[in-house]
C-alpha cells in the first residue's frame, strides 16, 4: 500500500508480496532447501553415520536363490515368529542388505485387560538388521539415526526426535512454506523488470552493495528457475493429502487407505490375513520364484522383496523394482503366491492423473539420477539456498542503506532480521557439521544415541543463534563452520588412510567433499573479513571488531 494512496500497479503489489512473504518464511525456506539438497545424498550421508557398512564391497552381489535362502534362514533364526518381513537388496549406493520384520504384539494379560498405555505398547514391533549380503551375517552397526535420513526427514517434517514428535505440525509448516515459495517465485517473476535483458547479468563489483546482491538473487532465481519451479510444485504435491483432504474424503469417504492403494495401482486396499508366522521357502522355493519373476519382468532389477500373508491367509511375495529405472515414483510391485509361485497382481498405476503425480513425485525425489545428474541437482539445490540467503540479505542491505542515508540508527526489527539471517545462513551449515561430528564423538554405548545425534544438531544451531544474538559476526560463524568441516575432512582422510587396503568409493569421497565445504566456508569468512577491513579503511578508522556483522556486499564485492 502506498503512503500517498495513489493506485498501485501489479508489479508494485507483487514486489510487496515477494518482499514480505519471502522475509517471513525465508529462514525456514533456506533450511528446507539446504537440507533437501543434502538429502540427494541421503544414502552416502547415512554411510558416514554407520562407518561399519563402509567396509563392505560396494559392488552389489547378484540376487541369487542361495543368497535369498541364507537371508531367509537368518530371519527365521533371529525372529521365528515374524509376521512379515522385507529384504532390501544392496545397490551401488547402499552396500548392505537391510532385513526388517514385524514382531507379533505380546499377548495382553488375560486377567485385567490392557490399559490404554499398554495397548499402545502392544502393537507389532518393527525390527531391522543390516546383513552382509554375501554371507547373510548380521553386521554390528552402531545405533544411529543416519545423517542422510535426518536431513531428509528435517526437509519435509522438521524432524526433531527419533520418535515421531510434532511431525504433523512440521509437515504443515513445510507445506505452508512451500506454498509461500511458489507465491514468491511467481511474484518474483512479475517483479523482475528485465528478466530477459538481464538474463546473464551479474555485477559483483557494482558500487552499491544492493546492486550486487540483487544481481546475485536474480541470477540464482532466473537461471535455475526450471529446477526451482519443479521442485517447489512437486514438493507441494507430495504432501497434498495433508492439506487437501476434502477431495479424497468426498470420493472415498473415511477409507482414505483406498485412495492411496489406487494411487499405487491396487484395485482396493487389500486386507491382510490374520497374522501368523511365515513358512521357510528354502533355496528351491526361491529358485522357482526368481525364475517366475524373470519371466514376468525380463531383465528387471529387483530392489526389495517382502513376504507377508494375503487376505486368504496364504503367504505372498511382493517384489519391487529398483527405483533408479524410471522417472515415475514409486517403482512397480509384483505379487506372487509364495508357495505355488503363481502370479497374483502387478501394482502399477495406469491412470493418467496418478502417473502425472508419480512423475512429479519422482522428479522431486530424483531416485533416478546417476552421479553426474545427482551432483548437478545438488548444485541447483545449493543455488536455491543461495537464492533465499541473498533475498534475506537483500532485505537487510536495502533497509540499512535507507536508514544510513537518513543518518539514523537501525531499529530493533532490522537488528532482529540481521541476527536471524546470520544464525540461519551461517549457523545451519555449522549445525550440520555438528550432526556429522556427533556420528564420531558420541560414545557407541550411549543410551538413546540416535536422539543424542539429533540433539547435537539442534544444540549447535541454538548456540549459533546465541552467538549471533551476542554479537558474533558473519566472519566468526563462517570461520567456525570452516573449522568444523575441515576437521571432518581430516577425520575422514584419516579413516580413508587407515582403510586404504580396501578403500571404497564413498569412503574415499568424504574427505575431499568435507574439505571443499570447509574451504568454501573459509572463503566466505575471508570475504567478510576483507570487506569489513576495506569498509573501515574507507571510513578512515581501524577495522572494527564487530564490523563483520555486516554482510553488505561482502561475499561479492571482495572479488576485486
Amino acid at each position: 500500500m502506498r503512503v500517498d494512496a495513489a493506485p498501485e500497479g501489479l508489479r508494485q503489489s507483487m514486489a510487496w508480496l515477494h518482499t514480505w512473504a519471502g522475509l517471513l518464511l525465508g529462514w525456514l525456506l533456506f533450511a528446507i532447501f539446504l537440507s533437501g539438497s543434502l538429502a540427494f545424498f541421503k544414502q552416502e550421508l547415512n554411510l558416514w553415520s554407520r562407518p561399519e557398512l563402509l567396509r563392505l564391497d560396494p559392488a552389489p552381489p547378484p540376487m541369487t536363490p542361495a543368497a535369498l535362502a541364507r537371508a531367509e534362514a537368518r530371519l527365521h533364526a533371529l525372529a521365528p515368529a515374524a509376521q512379515s518381513w522385507r529384504l532390501s537388496w544392496p545397490d551401488e549406493r547402499r552396500p548392505a542388505a537391510l532385513l526388517s520384520w514385524r514382531e507379533p504384539a505380546p499377548a495382553p494379560s488375560a486377567a485385567s485387560g490392557p490399559a490404554p498405555a499398554e495397548a499402545k505398547a502392544a502393537r507389532p514391533r518393527l525390527e531391522q538388521r543390516w546383513l552382509d549380503p554375501a554371507t547373510a551375517e548380521p553386521l554390528a552397526v552402531r545405533a544411529s539415526f543416519g545423517a542422510g535420513e535426518f536431513f531428509y526427514r528435517f526437509h519435509f517434517e522438521l524432524r526433531s526426535a527419533v520418535q515421531s514428535r510434532w511431525i504433523l505440525e512440521g509437515r504443515w509448516l513445510v507445506g505452508l512454506a512451500s506454498l509461500v515459495m511458489l507465491v514468491a517465485l511467481l511474484s518474483g517473476i512479475v517483479t523482475h523488470r528485465r528478466i530477459f535483458k538481464d538474463f546473464f547479468l551479474f555485477r559483483p563489483r557494482a558500487k552499491a552493495a544492493q546492486r550486487a546482491w540483487l544481481d546475485a538473487h536474480n541470477l540464482c532465481g532466473v537461471l535455475v528457475l526450471p529446477f526451482l519451479l519443479t521442485i517447489t510444485f512437486s514438493g507441494l504435491m507430495t504432501l497434498h493429502s495433508l492439506y487437501l483432504p476434502a477431495g479424497i474424503a468426498a470420493a472415498y469417504g473415511k477409507d482414505s487407505a483406498a485412495y492411496f492403494a489406487e494411487l499405487g495401482g491396487e484395485s482396493a486396499a487389500e486386507r491382510r490375513g490374520r497374522p501368523a508366522p511365515l513358512p521357510l521357502l528354502g533355496e528351491a522355493g526361491w529358485t522357482r520364484l526368481l525364475a517366475q519373476a524373470q519371466r514376468e519382468w525380463p531383465g528387471a532389477r529387483i530392489d526389495s522383496l517382502a513376504l507377508q500373508r494375503g487376505a486368504d491367509g496364504r503367504p505372498q511375495l511382493e517384489l519391487s523394482r529398483h527405483e533408479g529405472e524410471r522417472l515415475q515414483y514409486r517403482a512397480p510391485l509384483l505379487r506372487f503366491d509364495a508357495l505355488s509361485g503363481q502370479r497374483l497382481q502387478l501394482l502399477d498405476t495406469a491412470a493418467p492423473a496418478a502417473r502425472v503425480y508419480g512423475v512429479l513425485y519422482g522428479l522431486h525425489m530424483a531416485r533416478f539420477a546417476d552421479w553426474p545428474l545427482r551432483w548437478t541437482l545438488f548444485g541447483f539445490g545449493l543455488l536455491g539456498s543461495a537464492l533465499m540467503a541473498t533475498g534475506l540479505l537483500l532485505w537487510s542491505v536495502k533497509r540499512r542503506g535507507e536508514v544510513q542515508r537518513r543518518g539514523l540508527a537501525p531499529g530493533r526489527g532490522h537488528r532482529l532480521v540481521e541476527r536471524l539471517n546470520l544464525a540461519t545462513v551461517a549457523g545451519l551449515p555449522l549445525a550440520m557439521a555438528g550432526l556429522l561430528w556427533a556420528s564420531r564423538l558420541l560414545p557407541l554405548e550411549l543410551a538413546a544415541r540416535p536422539d543424542a545425534e539429533l540433539r547435537s544438531f539442534y544444540a549447535v544451531w541454538g548456540l549459533s543463534l546465541l552467538a549471533a544474538a551476542l554479537g558474533c559476526g558473519w566472519r566468526g560463524l563462517w570461520s567456525a563452520g570452516a573449522l568444523a568441516f575441515c576437521g571432518l575432512g581430516l577425520v575422514a582422510g584419516f579413516e580413508a588412510f587407515s582403510a586404504r587396503a580396501q578403500l571404497t568409493l564413498p569412503q574415499a569421497g568424504f574427505a575431499p567433499v568435507f574439505m571443499l565445504t570447509g574451504l568454501l566456508l573459509a572463503g566466505l569468512a575471508w570475504h567478510c573479513h576483507r570487506s569489513a577491513t576495506s569498509a573501515a579503511l574507507a571510513a578512515g578508522a581501524p577495522a572494527p571488531a564487530r564490523a563483520s556483522v555486516r554482510p553488505d556486499g561482502a561475499l561479492l564485492r571482495a572479488g576485486r
Binding site: F199, F200, L201, L223, V224, P226, R326, F368
Partner: protein, 111 residues
Amino acid sequence: MSGLLSSGLFCLAAFASLCLAQERHHEEACGRPPGVARQRGLWALAVLAGLASLPAVLARPDSGIAWAAWVAQLTLAALAVAGLATWRPRALPALLGGAAVLALLGSWPPS
C-alpha cells in the same frame, strides 16, 4: 564422443550466442554493440543450437529421465555462460566457436 556430451556442447553454444546477442555482453566481449544483422544471426544460431541439442535426448530409451537431464544440462550451460560473461567476457566468442565446432564434430556423422 557420446551423444550426451555433444548435446551439452550445443546447449553451451546456444546460451553463448544468446548472451552475445545482448548489447551489454557483446560490447564487453568485442568492444562494440552488435549490428542488427549480427544480433539476428546470433539469435538464429541460438535457436539452431538449442534444437541441435535435442536428438541426443530423443535417442535415449527412457525419455522421461532424458528430458529431466536435458533441462539440467540447459541450466548448467546457462550458468557457465553467466559466469564467463561476469569474469571472462572476452572468452565468450571463443566459447561459442569452440563449443559449436566440437559439438558438430562430435555428432558427425549423423546416425
